[in-house]
């Protein structure tokens, strides 16, 4: 099968995830709770971002055995993270037939210059982006899904909002340009001209775009959806909270009905304790600054 048609199939899997919530899980039990709560996919990892942040040190791809345990526990797609630029970790994840690889800034980058050449893989990749330039660079490297970087493990939604708004305003700017200005835009954003042309014509990214990094409540999820996210990743927000199952259920329903404030008000009642957040000013490590 050609690289092009593989990329289409991979992009299409992301389309099937739209309107859904992808949840971070660290054990088969958590994966089952997530699936039962209505997650459209799970992200298998040894430590959720909040704990990675707390533990410090080098953070790597998870143990394949642990990932396989989660693959066996659920019937929905299973994703896993590899380090930015670590194509050998990605090869391992492909070998265990992961459904989606997240080349993620949450882990310690393995390469401070190059991202993985994702066109060399059959398995799909999702990558984080803070703006249109980053998103289109990842797509040109072969990513078939984009998410905002946000700031993982903080429970603070401000960066995800900032990244989504930036992306939207840059897309609007490119869409409003004269055709002869697109060459300069491609140069300025350091991205291929054909991708800029696509954004100009279609007024959107060529792949699905989810929100990620700091979503902790049904209201956070609704906010990101109203800002144009096509679905939501919730990392630490669920299993760092008082009642994971109830919160997960509520976030799933809030995403399906993201403009119905009355329903979201009901969903937000008695959720127990939310994850303890960290404000962006309080953190020393900005994961979003990894991998541009």
């Amino acid at each position: 099968m050609s690289t092009e048609s593989r990329w289409e199939l991979n992009k299409e899997l992301a389309q099937m995830l739209k309107g859904g919530v992808i949840m971070d899980v660290t054990t088969p039990e958590q994966a089952k709770i997530a699936e039962a709560a209505g997650a459209c996919a799970v992200m298998a990892l040894e430590r959720i971002p909040a704990d990675i942040r707390a533990a410090g040190g080098v953070s790597r791809m998870s143990d394949p055995k642990m990932i396989k345990g989660i693959q066996e526990a659920v019937s929905i797609p299973v994703m896993a993270k590899c380090r930015i630029g670590h194509f050998a970790e990605a090869q391992i994840l492909e070998a265990i037939e992961i459904d989606y690889i997240d080349e993620s800034e949450v882990l310690s980058p393995a390469d401070d210059v190059y991202h993985i050449d994702k066109t060399q893989f059959k398995v799909p990749f999702v990558c984080g982006a803070k703006d249109l330039g980053e998103a289109l660079r990842r797509i040109s490297e072969g990513a078939s899904m984009i998410r905002t970087k946000g700031e993982p493990g903080t429970g603070d939604v401000v960066q995800a909002v900032r990244h989504m708004r930036k992306m939207n305003s840059e897309i609007a700017r490119v869409a409003s340009m004269r055709e002869d200005e697109l060459f300069e835009a491609a140069k300025e954003l350091r991205v291929p001209y054909d991708l800029i042309r696509y954004v100009h014509k279609e007024k959107k990214l060529p792949v699905v775009n989810f929100a990620a990094g700091g979503v902790a409540t049904p209201a956070d999820a609704a906010l990101m959806m109203q800002l144009g996210a096509e679905g939501v990743f919730v990392g630490s927000g669920i299993f760092k909270s008082g009642n994971p199952s109830k919160r997960a259920n509520a976030i799933v329903k809030a995403v399906a009905n993201y403009t119905d404030a009355k329903l979201i008000a009901e969903l937000s009642e008695d959720l127990g304790e939310a994850m303890v957040g960290i404000n962006e000013q309080e953190i020393e490590l900005l994961m979003a600054e990894r991998g541009k």
């Binding site: 099968m1 048609s5 289409e8 199939l9 991979n10 299409e12 899997l13 389309q15 099937m16 995830l17 739209k18 309107g19 859904g20 699936e35 209505g38 997650a39 459209c40 996919a41 693959q71 019937s75 929905i76 797609p77 299973v78 492909e94 037939e97 992961i98 459904d99 989606y100 059959k122 398995v123 799909p124 799933v252 329903k253 995403v255 399906a256 009905n257 119905d260 329903l263």
Partner: protein, 201 residues
Amino acid sequence: MRIAVLAVQGAFIEHERILRELGAECVELRQGSDLSGSFDGIVLPGGESTVQGKLLRELGMFEDLKRRILDGTPVLGTCAGLILLAGSLENSPERYFATMPILVRRNAYGRQLGSFSAEARIRGVRNEEEPFPLEFIRAPYIVSADGAASPIAVIGKMPDGSEGENVVGVRYENQLGFAFHPELTKDVRCHEMFLAMCRGT
């Protein structure tokens, strides 16, 4: 022509785009109150059947939609939508509408690496002889179908990779079910056929 599209999760916008292009009006079903109006057809899109099935029940749409399907409102189910229609599932105790007498295996081709494209003629569409592009994304497999459910699309590859007659599209009375995703292609003939059913022609 008003078509209700289940919009709790999945690729519903893709269906709406094609239906609108063909002149239909779309209403999105996200909760029970969206069912108050009248409509001429129902679309169950691709996505995750576990999520859609759960939200159908918990957001108060399941009984009403099931009754409408049984009362004869035309319905189009693609991939996850086919699973929602299936009478029984081989590898899951779960059952959803169960209005179509077929046995279905979820994720029959394995994980995403098993997703593939194919082509087949579809019986009953315009220019029947012209093959239709088929996209299978973590697709279900129709293990068996009751005699009353007629196969309308067949490919030559079985889930285990061997050659054989693999039914990937079924019509049963007012119900149309596909294991692939007509909403992901530019070919609108499956949706034309569905709208013709909704018009009663």
